[in-house]
């Protein structure tokens, strides 16, 4: 429990650093977790070398989903889009530093799904993106 809701998660849930919108943006995508209604939108600005220069997220949901989005968005600043495409479930779990059961895993992975669907320019965020 204290692992799951470690201080970092509660801090980032209550006081996210990257919450907001980027307008204009180069990439934007949003999606829901149909199971619980969590919602995440991620906006990115990239430079001419495809490096992520600015990033923001918005949405609503549980502490895990929102903190995960905040930490994920922070972690990709300065990365190339190719590096973002290569992100895996394990990368995200490492950022969160917690172990999650199958249900809460979906909460955590929503932001990664949204990010990758946006970067790949897909019409929808498929679970395959985060397997």
């Amino acid at each position: 429990m204290d692992d799951l809701y470690r201080e970092l998660i509660i801090d980032r849930y209550k006081s996210p650093v990257y919450r907001g919108y980027l307008d204009p943006h180069d990439i934007s995508f949003e999606d829901d977790n149909p199971l619980c209604g969590d919602h995440i939108r991620i906006d990115l600005r990239v430079d001419e070398n495809d490096v992520v220069r600015e990033a923001a997220f918005d949405g609503h949901g549980c502490a895990i989903s929102q903190a995960s989005a905040d930490l994920l968005v922070e972690s990709i600043l300065g990365n190339t889009l190719d590096e973002v495409r290569a992100l895996t479930k394990d990368d995200l779990l490492e950022l969160l530093g917690i172990e999650l059961g199958p249900v809460r895993l979906k909460c955590a992975l929503l932001s990664l799904k949204v990010l990758k669907a946006g970067v790949y320019g897909l019409g929808e965020a498929s679970d395959d993106l985060v397997d």
């Binding site: 809701y5 509660i10 209550k14 549980c62 809460r104």
Partner: protein
Amino acid sequence: MTQTNSFDVERIRRDFPILSRELRPGVPLVYLDSTATSQKPLAVIEAMDNFYRQSNANIHRGIHTLAEESTALYEEARNKVARFINAPSARQVIFTRNTTESINLVSLTWGRVNLKPGDVVILTEMEHHSNLVPWHILSAERDLRLEFIPVGEDGLLDLVEYQRLLELKPKMVSFTHMSNVLGTITPAQEIIRLAHAAGALTLVDGAQSVPHFPVDVQALDADFLAFSAHKMVGPSGIGVLYGRKELLEQMPPFLGGGDMIKTVHLRSFVPNSLPHKFEAGTPAIAEAVGFGAAVDYLTQTGMQAIAEHEHALTAYALERLEEVPGVKVFGPTAEHKGGVASFYMDGLHPHDIAQVLDRDGIAVRAGHHCAQPLHEKYGIPATARASFYLYNTRQEVDRLIESIYKVKHMFGV
């Protein structure tokens, strides 16, 4: 409440093996999720176990002893269920997989034959998805007009608006007998009386009512009633559609296959009589046997006593929840509701509440509880829901409240 004295909840708890489980050393289970599915007493577990150990065979048309025994057990379960809801005949009790399948059976057989483009079907704003989506599907095929009885801020159906909707001459009024989110017990008898006066048939979604208080289909004058065994201390995988005999007889078959036919030729078939006409293929036989044992268990305990126990417990839970600053409980006051307390806490997502409660051994559900439109109406994505059944206690409510204070402390809200 005099019955509550003779209602020995500690004795009842001993009948349910899972309730003595510790989730972790020193953390006993507090199961507050019976609205999703109930726990099972030893009598049900043993009935199914004995069936597989002693009598297992496929039913109907078998000559050998086991086939006769299993057929008799299966049909005896149907008789027990029929008596439980006071059906005029056991032939009007169709075994399905669950409430959802029962409602789909009506929409896809009665609905396909009787509904034309523009026909009106009345539902309510607090339906479970199982009583919305079957009508959406049929509506896409038949271009129906779906209308909804509104739910007020008080969690009750607006019967004035309902009477206005009845002027549209609906063909069907399909509604929940008890909301799985708000706990609202709907005035089913009145809704049915008004529907009949307007020339409409009625389908009662009894998934939450039949397990929790006495339901008499003849007193209600319901045309159809759907419910599931697993919410009433029985096994999953079996449910019921009760229907008025002449309606069931007029309806075309649902699924085709073995057991639902009288005769089959290469290019045609003649359907079987009721209830077999609607039971294609090998049914859930052991589950039917378990269902029969569940009905026996509830009957022996007394449905009225169960209802009173739950009512007292729910009133206590609502009182305790409302004491907690920042907690908002949804639904009507205790007098109009069954054993459900759905709540929301400012600044906290229900998933986080449920997760912290789980560490204290408390099982509650978090989400939209398959009633997304209702949550949209109240402008919240999800709620946490504690629900109560015959085996829950005031001590368990106290543990829930203590744990909710822990959540508040942890998140600093």
